[in-house]
């Protein structure tokens, strides 16, 4: 299966701007399905972005983050060609991780 994470990271003037989209239902646990049953909460809890083994951004998310969550952040100290690791884990213990190269 293709990665659940899509990343674009661009360095300009010493600042890396990272945009990521994660494929995830982010079910809040407040919504009913068409049959009237509550869809149990299923959402990403933690997403981390690491550069050279150092975490440069940590997001703790709750179920109020939209389906297929989007994140944009900016950090210093990385250069074009550097690798970034983006990882997430959800409330069911499912997780995924991907590597991206800074352009």
């Amino acid at each position: 299966m293709a990665s659940s994470i899509r990343v674009r990271a661009v360095e300009s003037g010493g600042v890396t701007s990272l945009k990521a989209l994660v494929r995830h239902p982010m079910d809040s646990g407040f919504v009913k399905d068409s049959a009237g049953n509550i869809v149990p909460a299923h959402f990403i809890q933690v997403l981390t972005i690491s550069h050279n083994g150092k975490q440069v951004f940590i997001a703790d998310w709750g179920p109020a983050v939209s389906k297929d969550p989007f994140l944009e952040c900016r950090f210093e100290g990385a250069k074009k060609g550097d690798k970034l690791t983006i990882s997430w884990i959800d409330n069911k213990g499912e997780s995924d991780s991907t590597e991206a190269t800074i352009a």
Binding site: V46, A64, V65, S66, C73, N91
Partner: protein, 160 residues
């Protein structure tokens, strides 16, 4: 990491047991494994209604209004399921940002740790059930600051 984040952090550790403590010994653990650690995810803060209670649960203090926090979000959301929210601040030494949606069943939508070298900027997309205040909290020099902006959420989505 600063006391405020650590406070929430330690709570998580208490709940999570040994694995959490092992991680807690290195504040920025060098991890190569795929899955991030969710043991310090604050269940309590994420299940608290109301902005002020949530901020105090999260950071153990009250936040004061600041005009140095800028929020970019629509005045009228075209759909409450996907509302883009961007926060940026000129406050110094920022270590954390949180986004709260006042009228949601639980106010806290997201918290972000901002390590040194990362800019105090974040953009997310959030769900809002109804017209609401959105509050951005910024931890700067160990103190909590906040800014508020209202979003009108209307029942839209013409056609099935």
């Amino acid at each position: 990491m600063i006391d405020q984040t650590r406070r929430g952090f330690l709570k998580g550790v208490l709940g999570a047991g040994v694995a959490g403590i092992a991680l807690g010994s290195g504040l920025i653990p060098l991890r190569v494994e795929a899955a991030p650690d969710a043991s310090n995810w604050s269940k309590k803060a994420f299940s608290t209604p109301g902005v002020d209670d949530t901020i105090s649960e999260l950071y153990g203090m009250e936040a004061v209004e600041s005009d140095k926090i800028s929020m970019d979000l629509p005045t009228i959301a075209q759909n409450g399921a996907v509302v883009p929210v961007t926060v940026e601040t000129s406050l110094p030494n920022v270590t954390g940002i949180a986004l709260l949606v006042a009228q949601n069943p639980n106010a806290l939508a997201a918290t972000f740790e901002i390590p040194k070298g990362t800019l105090p900027f974040v953009s997310n997309r959030l769900k809002m059930a109804e017209t609401t205040d959105v509050v951005a909290v910024v931890i700067s020099d160990g103190k909590a600051y906040k800014a508020t902006q209202n979003v009108k959420v209307t029942v839209g989505g013409c056609g099935g």
